[in-house]
Amino acid sequence: MTIGEWATRARYRYVPDHVVGELLGRRWMDNVIPVALLAALSIALVATLPNFLSTGNLSDLSRQVGEFGLVVIGMTVVMLAGGIDLSVGSNFALANVTALTLINVAKWPVVGAIAATIVVGALSGLLNGALIGFLRLRAFLTTLVTLTLLRAIVELLLQAFSVQIASSDVESAAWDYVGAGAFLGVPLSFLVLAAVAVVAQIVLTRLRIGWRIAAVGGSRRAAFNAGIPVRSTVCLTYVVSGVLTALAGVLYAARLSGSGPDTGVGLELTVVTAALLGGNSVGGGRGSIGKAMMGAVIVSLLTNGLVRLGLASGATQMVVGGVLLLAIGIDVRWGRWRHKLRAKVYVSPAYLALPPAPLPAAASSPYAMNDRLREVEIIGLGEVDGPEDVILDREGNLYCSVRQGDVVRFLAPDHVKREVYAHVGGRPLGMAFDKAGDLVVCIAGMGLYSVDPQRKVHKLTAETNRSPLSIIDDSRMRLADDLDIAPDGRIYFSEATIRYGFEEWVVDSLEGRGNGRIIRYDPATQSTRTVLRNLLFANGMCVAHDGKSVLFAETWGCRVSRFWLEGSKAGKTERVIANLPGYPDNINRGSRGTYWVALAGTRTPSYDLAMTMPGFRRRMARRVAGDEWLFPNVNVGCVVHFAQDGSILETLWDLAGENHPAITSMREHQGYLYLGGVTNNRIGRLKLADADPSFTGQVSYWGERR
């Protein structure tokens, strides 16, 4: 091995390229930028500002966050439904002056004053909501107008009452507690925020109205067509915003007990900045309370830090404006860019050096080429679409799994009459009969199912334990491929790849990484466990004649292995055939203690070379159209007969691929071999010269009929 090759191998073994694409596919990736920003900002502030972490400063900061965060939550709810509320600044000031007037001038009791202030906030929210939701005015312009209107009302109120507010003295412990109190050291306003955030989170994610708000924001027309009352939902979001803003105004009033003309001026800008920076979408439909809180904390930290750094007030505004521009840019670009990048980097080929292929051209080779399969009889020509697996029952009826999601049956003895045995849906692939005569089927896209003799379809399992460090959710089964049943009834089945569905299985060949696994389903406890991982396209499964181990094929690895179920080597894996001249698919039992494995295609020198050059394949995947990709030669049919120890007994070929290209399965039954192919429109039948004419799979697995 040259140094270059060694470096390539090390590079692709230790750098997990595939993780990038998987990360970009996760929804929580939306939060990465805000979290990173928050962390960086916190570190910077702690490092630059002395006593930033002092109790006094933190308490002060958390009070500010408490008030500010409430408004941001309101804004987030509005934005989630696709709107925007610019009137929050004036509404905040209105709540402030209302609360102070009622407490200081009118001498209302604290609870009554707070309730009345919140009603005022709700009414101004309702004004917005009615105009935007029911009259369908533009949210931006309407709230801009209410911003001015409410500000005018505030000015009038201030002219009338500001002197009285400033001169009167309030002796109320409750009011002081609202402004300055703390519970277990946590300021009250922060506790209020926490409570509101928890409630809002539950409402938005768990309650019908929350889903409706997100649905309206995601697509107004689709929400309308789904029967959601769009107008009242939109109206409601503005009322929520008004209420939360008023609540924040009350807390502010209690804290500072003063009112001036500049209260809440420019608040709308910082609130929108916070909501966007947290990752909420300005277009609606995408957002959460968590994002709102993150944005609120970032912006509060930023303004607090800037003030304490002693910047002029204009400079603070400038920084906030710059951050808002950044947030808008990220909001617009991130979603699109992420999906584009993911589409580019998801396919990530790995280094795979196979041992040199055996040469089937040599006559002395056990794989010597012949045209034995050219003589097969054809069953059901044109009546089946892609019989991936074939199997026979005790009566000799022939079953196959076809593309339309059916299990099709050809009736014994001549296999001419055809019927749909059961419609299972999905893409049925491997099949096996259990002891009771139920037909167990692996279905790509669905999982493991069974069809009982009354033709009723039952789901056995569609979920397994999730691997601890996997980024994509590998608990769901995407491509259950083939199965076999151990004598104790436990079902072992392969999932070819966890990264692609059935339509994209060819892309997995380009990757050549161990994306496959073997899963065990125990019908007694109805439990599902993954028993082997990181297999190179786990495919055919076959329980050995003695029932003590299960043979499995790894297609891209061109090898067959044995997984021990019992005995001293239980749980261990050992190689049975290390180096096939083609890509193995299903494995099944033959008579006289032998096995059959189908080769879906032959290895080609050009593809073997490409498998050792991951960069070449990655560029091919990006630059060349899918139809033009280099691919193993699957236009050749081949079946290999091997013994218990893995020695090759004989090989049957259809070199021209005229009768049977791409054989994916075969079953021996009473001296004949039945052939299926995933891209074929026929089933083949070949008379075997030296097979046991009484052999059937049913007897081999479950004995004579009781």
Partner: protein, 358 residues
């Protein structure tokens, strides 16, 4: 700026470095006319067609055969493979052998042999000039005619066009640095050359200057022959494909492929694909329900085009991916029929075609 952009484009695979091939559209809309043409002669690897006083003849490995009146014995046989053949105005013919020798048959110079020249070891095409001289296309400076695939995958641009005086045997080079000249035709005082690896026709003037005449062909052009009223017939012997162009752009893979793999199994164009299960295949070339789709990507194809006097493609005949007439190395119009030699499939066939007259 430009070198930087070039490097960036190569790294990202865009701009000039993007992998594109011309679509089969316009005059190149696919049809099945080549497969429908009746067989005239079946012989292994028919290569070059020529019209002589004896009628139409074709080269097949070491032998010359009559096309219109097939005889069991070949017309002539040589001790080396024939790599080029052309009919002369006097009714004779010239044969170029793979070892570089030239032999005259029939006509005024019957039996003359001109010895090989070490500078010209890959005679791919011959053409008579109006003044009695002979024009030679030397495909490659270092590869013999049988190794054309290696010449392509090495990205060689070492071909040349020569003028030979049959009286004195003197050779003069008219143009060099051509990407596998593979067809020749004298037109007034210029020479039209098909440059296979550039997928283009090039016009060479007397002074030796070359200028592109027709570019962006969808397949690799081979031999040229004359049609009625200034038209030209062009045989295109193998298709361009995205995959091959991509491999050509991937120097690491290309180098290791050339070093370690038998040329038969290279990712490269060929005259007939799918002969062996160890040849490369492509995803779109997978048989579906037992049928190979005609539009599936293929490393071999059958294609003939008729170019009008201004060298615009006007008509084309095809044998598509599932066809049985692949690897057309030459074609010739004769008695209202278009004869073509499908070297990949060992067939000479003729398609009745009436050339439009202006």
């Amino acid at each position: 700026m430009t070198p930087l952009r070039g490097a960036l484009d190569r790294w990202l695979g865009r701009g000039k470095a993007s992998i594109t091939t011309p679509p089969l559209d316009g005059a190149f809309r696919p049809n099945d006319l080549l497969d429908a043409a009746p067989v005239v002669l079946e012989t292994p690897a028919p290569d070059s067609l020529a019209a002589t006083a004896l009628g139409l003849i074709v080269s097949s490995r070491n032998s010359l055969l009559r096309v219109d009146k097939p005889t069991p014995a070949p017309l002539a046989s040589f001790d080396a493979e024939i790599s080029a053949l052309v009919g002369l105005p006097d009714g004779g013919a010239v044969v170029g052998l793979a070892d570089g020798r030239l032999l005259f048959l029939g006509g005024r110079r019957d039996g003359t042999t001109i010895a090989a020249d070490r500078r010209i070891g890959c005679i791919t095409a011959l053409a008579p000039a109006a003044d009695g001289a002979l024009l030679l296309a030397n495909g490659s400076a270092d590869q013999p005619p049988a190794d054309w695939k290696r010449d392509l995958m090495l990205k060689n641009v070492s071909g040349s066009v020569w003028r030979l005086d049959p009286e004195s045997g003197a050779r003069t080079q008219l143009a060099g640095a051509l990407a596998y000249p593979n067809g020749l035709l004298e037109e007034r005082d210029t020479i039209l050359v098909s440059e296979s690896w550039r997928a283009a026709l090039t016009r060479i003037s007397l002074g030796g200057r070359s200028a592109p005449a027709l570019e962006d062909l969808p397949a690799y052009p081979g031999r040229l022959s004359r049609g009625a009223s200034g038209a030209i017939w062009l045989a295109l012997f193998a298709p361009r494909s995205q995959l091959v162009e991509f491999v050509l752009s991937e120097d690491g893979y290309r180098r290791r492929m050339i070093e370690t793999i038998d040329p038969e199994f290279w990712v490269a164009p060929c005259l007939r694909s799918s002969r062996s299960p160890f040849e490369p295949t492509q995803q779109g070339g997978v048989k579906q329900l037992g049928v190979l789709k005609p539009w599936s990507p293929s490393r071999s194809y059958g294609l003939v085009a008729r170019l009008d006097a201004a060298l615009r493609p006007v008509v084309s005949f095809h044998s598509r991916a599932n066809g049985r007439r692949h690897g057309l190395t030459s074609c010739l119009m004769c008695d209202g029929r278009l004869y073509f030699a499908a070297k990949g499939d060992g067939v000479v066939a003729a398609h009745a075609y009436e050339e439009p007259t202006p």
